[in-house]
Subunit: 119 residues, 6 copies
C-alpha cells in the first residue's frame, strides 16, 4: 500500500476502535447499521457500493469517497463504470464536486498502483 | 395521473420551456448534459437512475427525488429495490432525509395508484 | 390543533406507518435508533431535544424543525430558551436559516395558540 | 402584486416583526447586520445583490432566492444578467439547483407580470 | 499542547487577527456577534457550547468542531456527555458525519493527553 | 510561487489532465462548460469571478475558493472588494464559513506575497 492509502486506512481503523470502545449504544448501533446497509440484498453489493460512492461524492466527503472507491473496486467496478458514477455525481452536485473528483481519481490511481506493485 | 403528480409534471414542463427559450448557451448546454448523463453506457439506465435518486435524496431535493422515482419506476426498479436505495440514502444522509423519504414514498404510491387507476 | 400542526402530524404519522410496513430491516432499525437517540441519558431529554432542534435548523429541514419544536415544548423549553437555540442556529448557519426560523416561530405560535384554544 | 409574490411578502413581513419583538439581542443584531451587508460600499448594491442571489441559489433557499430576485430587479439587473447569475449558480451547484431555478424564473415572471399589470 | 492542537490554535489566532485588521465593519461585527452568541443567558455556557458543537458536526466543519470540543471541555462536558452530543449529530447527519466524528474524538484525546502531560 | 499556491496549482493541473484523458464525454463537456461559464458576457469576467467566489465560499469548498480568489485577483478585484464578497458569504453562510475565510485570506496573502517576491 502506498502512503495516502495506508495513512487513511490506519487512522480509520484506529479511531473506529476508539469510538466503539466507548459505551454508547446509539453510536455502536449506528456503526453496525452502516455495515449492514451495503450487504447483498434486493440490490447486489456492487450496486450498493456505487450508490454509497455517488452519495458520498455529492455530499463532498473525501474519506467516505475514498472508502467507497476501495469497496467498489473490490466489488468489481471497472474504470469506465467508475467514471459514469462520477459523471452522475458531477452533474447532480456541480463544479464544487470537482476537487473531490480529483482526489477520488488520485486515490483510485494509488489503489491500482499499489495493486500493480503488489502483483 | 393524480393531482400531485400532475401538478409537478406540468410546472416542470412549463418552466423548463420558459428557461430554455432564454438565449443562454451555458444553461441550455447544462440541461442537455443533464439528459445525456442518464443514457445507457457502461452502466445501464436503471443503475444510473438509482444513482440519480440516491444523490437527490441525500441532497434533499424533493423535486429531483420525484423525478428520479418516476424514472426509476419506468426503468423497472421494484419496491424492494427502491427501499434499498432509500436505505443507503437514509444511512448516509441521516434522519434529516426522513421527511424527504416520506414524500418519496408518497409520490411512488401516487404513481402506482395512478397506474392502477389507469389500468 | 390548528391546520398546519394537524396536517403535519397526520402526514408524518401516515407515512411513517407506510414506510415501516415495508419489510426493510435497515430502514426499520434506523427509525428505532432515531427514537432511542433522544431518550434520557447522560444528557436529559430537554437538552437532547434542543440539540436535535439546532441540528435541524442549521440543516434547514422544516419538518425536522417542527418536530423538535414540539418535542422541546413538551420537555419544558421556554420561549427565551427557544430563541437562544435559534440564535446559535442563526449565527452558525447564517441568513439562509432565516426563512426556516420564520416557519419555526410560526409553528411554535400555532402550537401555543392551539394550547390556549384547548385550555 | 400577484398571489405568490403577495403571500411571500406578507408572511415575511409578519414573521420578521414577530421575531424582532422577542427580546433577543443576538437575533436582532444579526437581522441588522444582514441589512447592512447589501448597502453600497466598495461594491455597489447591484453587484452585492447578485452575490446574495447566487449564494442563495447554490444553497437552494427558495425564499432567499425570491428576496434577492426582487432586490436585483430593483437594482436594475436585466434578464440577460439574471440568466448569467443563474448560469454560475447552476454550474457551481449542479442539477439539484434546477428546481430552484424554475421557481426563481417563475417568481421573476410574476414580478414582471405584476409590474406590467400595474403599469 | 501537542502538535495538532497547537497548529490549529496558532493558525486560527493569526488569521483572525489578519481578518480583523481589515477595515470591514460587517465582518468585524459578525465576529463580535459570534462571540456574544455563546455567553451565559437563558441557557448556560455549557448547553450553548454543546449546541454549537452539534451544529458544527452536522455541517461537517472540522475546525468548528475542534473549537467547540475545546470550549465544551472547558465548560465541563464529560466524555459520556460528549458522546451523547455526537450520537445526536450522527443520527441527524448520517454516516457522512463519521469521518468528522473520528477527528473530533482524536482532537478530544489530544486535548486530554495534553492536559495529562501538563498535569 | 510559494508552497501552498504551487502545490495547489500542480495537483489541480495534473489531476485535471488525468480526468480528461479518460474517455467520458459527460465529464469532458462539464469541464468545458465550467470554463465557458466565467467568460465575458452580459456580466463581465470580474463580476462572474466574484459570483463564483461567493458561491464557493458558502458551499465551503476550499479548492474552489482558492481558484476563484486567484481568478478574481487577475480580474482586478481589490482587497476591499474581496472583503465585501467575503462579508456576503459570511452573513449568508454563517460562522461555519469562517475557517474557509481564514484559508481564503491566507491564500490571498500568499498570492500577493508571491507577487511581491517575484516583482
Amino acid at each position: 500500500m502506498n502512503d495516502r492509502v495506508k495513512q487513511f486506512t490506519e487512522f480509520r481503523k484506529r479511531m473506529n476502535e476508539r469510538i466503539l470502545e466507548q459505551d454508547n449504544q446509539v453510536v455502536r448501533r449506528f456503526f453496525a447499521l452502516d455495515t449492514q446497509t451495503y450487504k447483498d440484498g434486493a440490490l447486489d453489493v456492487k450496486t450498493k457500493e456505487m450508490l454509497g460512492l455517488v452519495a458520498s461524492l455529492v455530499l463532498r466527503c473525501d474519506d467516505c469517497v475514498s472508502y467507497h472507491v476501495a469497496q467498489c473496486r473490490e466489488a468489481g467496478v471497472s474504470r469506465d463504470e467508475f467514471f459514469e458514477v462520477f459523471q452522475v455525481g458531477l452533474v447532480v452536485g456541480g463544479s464544487i464536486v470537482i476537487p473531490h473528483l480529483r482526489r477520488a481519481v488520485d486515490f483510485l490511481d494509488q489503489l491500482e498502483g499499489g495493486a500493480e506493485a503488489a502483483g
